[in-house]
């Protein structure tokens, strides 16, 4: 399979990948639809809830696949803009659920209208050294300074921390996804879009398998935070993600074993990051990010779909750069 894939041109490889992914998604959707036609009459609440979860997961996967297909079709620059917009929307969701005070207004303006565009501008201009330290070094200082100048000490550390977390996860983390597109590897003429694809597919597979393997298990690791996180199901998820990564090695600059390792790194970061974001949601007493009406309709916020990626992308990006000395 590897040699066949290598014989195709890069864009044919991408095309093939998208055909396979959309084909799998279509099959899964048809299967779920048929199931929903069959079981109707006397379902327990648990079954209904499970079907609901499956549908939500499928929808997430569709959205992710379409987003990345559009990103690939429209080219790298368009992808950067698209991720900047996504960052804006998820940061909005994050801030909405993190109470700030009037004194934080200027800091929020700074975060949304200065930090966010600058971070993506750094990706655009490929200044990777500055891009890596801009948020953790400079913004880390700037945000609390702006808040402090507003003369409001009440719950100061808490407010500053919330803002910095929002920026770290929603802007810094997510901006590493389009940054992958711009990495250039010596002696490899494939498309960098593969790396993004690799990352997303591997993390999403891991989450999906983890979710499925958690079925019927009792005694989660941290029941107050997540009732679906078990070490065993986590292990199965990692195994699946790693295997998919190894299978996709032909599309990446990695050999199969390093591909497996890279996939594992991304999966560990993504799944654990997802768990951390769940803890934040529990702390705020919500099940989903997004507006109040979301919990009524059952649709999750954008951040619910992207949080694993926000944590996996920086770890993956730096592991790749470090390994290849880019």
């Amino acid at each position: 399979m590897g040699s066949f894939l290598r014989s195709l041109s890069p864009s044919q490889q991408v095309g093939l990948l998208f055909v396979v992914v959309f084909g799998l998604l279509a099959l899964a959707t048809v299967a779920v639809l048929l199931l929903s036609l069959r079981e109707r009459a006397h379902d327990s609440d648990a079954t209904i809830q499970r079907r609901h979860d499956n549908l939500a997961l499928l929808r997430t996967s569709w959205v992710m696949a379409v987003v990345f297909w559009v990103g690939w079709a429209a080219g790298e620059r368009a992808a950067i803009v698209m991720f900047a917009v996504l960052s804006f929307l998820v940061l909005r969701e994050f801030i909405s659920l993190s109470p700030t005070r009037r004194g934080d207004h200027r800091a929020l303006v700074l975060a949304f209208f200065v930090v966010l565009p600058l971070q993506y501008a750094l990706v655009w201009t490929e200044r990777f050294d500055l891009f890596t330290v801009f948020v953790p070094v400079y913004v880390f200082l700037a945000i609390p300074v702006v808040s402090a100048l507003r003369n409001d000490p009440q719950r100061f550390l808490e407010r500053a921390a919330k803002l910095q977390w929002g920026i770290m996860v929603c802007v810094y983390g997510l901006s590493h996804v389009p940054a992958l597109l711009l990495l250039s590897f010596p002696r490899w003429n494939g498309e960098s879009a593969f790396l993004v694809f690799f990352l997303v597919l591997v993390v999403q597979t891991c989450m999906l398998v983890q979710h499925l393997a958690a079925r019927g298990r009792t005694r989660p690791v941290a029941p107050a935070i997540s009732d679906s996180f078990h070490w065993a199901s986590w292990g199965w998820g990692l195994l699946a993600g790693g295997l998919v990564g190894a299978l996709l090695a032909g599309l990446t600059p990695f050999k199969p074993l390093p591909a497996l390792a890279m996939a594992l790194v991304a999966c560990v970061a993504g799944t654990l990051g997802h768990l951390v974001m769940k803890a934040i949601k529990r702390d705020r007493g919500v099940t989903h990010w997004g507006g109040a009406s979301r919990s009524v309709t059952g649709a999750a916020g954008l951040l619910d779909r992207l949080d694993a990626l926000c944590f996996a992308a920086p770890v993956f990006f730096h592991s790749v750069r470090w390994t290849f000395n880019l």
Partner: protein, 205 residues
């Protein structure tokens, strides 16, 4: 509506949706083209824009917000936006002479329009709204057939606090509750307390 006003209205709608999501939650009544008074808590000048944006297109055309004359006519741009885009009814916040401050509202209701009203009269900065002024009661007495819809605006004060010029993106929602009826022998204070409680109750749904 002329072309400039239409363009401005589209621009404002886009801006408000981008910044706040402008989510409408119809909790106690469906969006319906009957004559209504929406009465809401008031924490920011943007309240008016948010309710306007949260209403569906068909209702937006027949619903007129109440705007404080001194603030919204302070500059030609503000005046143009409130007249041409929002089709607002201006009221005086300070009583001048012996004219009835409710007169423009009564005229609007008589011509069949719906109104958006902030019965606190002025913006509050506390968690709970201030006591309601009696305008709502007087209008309810005079127009018993108009449906009174309590409305809770969530989060807007975070978008643009007093004294700031740049708005910040925060998800906001507008919750419309179950319509209220004025009892035949209900007195002023009793009704206003009930109306305020109905608005506050929407915070939790």
């Amino acid at each position: 509506m002329n072309l400039a006003a239409r363009a401005m209205s589209l621009f404002l709608l886009g801006l408000v949706r981008l910044l706040t999501g402008a989510q409408a939650r119809w909790h106690g009544c469906p969006p319906k083209a009957e004559q209504r008074i929406y009465f809401a808590n008031h924490q920011s000048h943007a309240d008016l824009v948010l309710i306007w944006a949260a209403l569906p297109h068909e209702l937006r055309a027949i619903t007129r917000p109440i705007a404080a004359r001194d603030y919204w006519t302070a500059s030609p741009l503000k005046r143009w936006i409130t007249t041409a885009v929002f089709n607002a009814v201006y009221v005086e916040r300070e009583r001048k002479g012996d004219e009835d401050p409710l007169a423009p509202l009564i005229a609007a209701l008589e011509s069949g329009d719906s109104l958006i009203l902030f019965p606190e009269g002025t913006r509050g900065f506390e968690e709970d709204p201030q006591p309601f002024k009696s305008g709502l009661y007087n209008l309810a007495r005079r127009f018993p057939e108009v449906v009174l819809v309590p409305t809770w605006i969530h989060n807007v004060q975070r978008v643009m606090p007093k004294g700031e010029v740049v708005p910040v993106p925060v998800l906001c929602s507008v919750t419309f509750g179950e319509p209220l009826r004025l009892g035949t022998d209900e007195d002023r204070a009793e009704f206003l307390t009930r109306a305020r409680a109905a608005v506050i109750a929407l915070r939790e749904v």
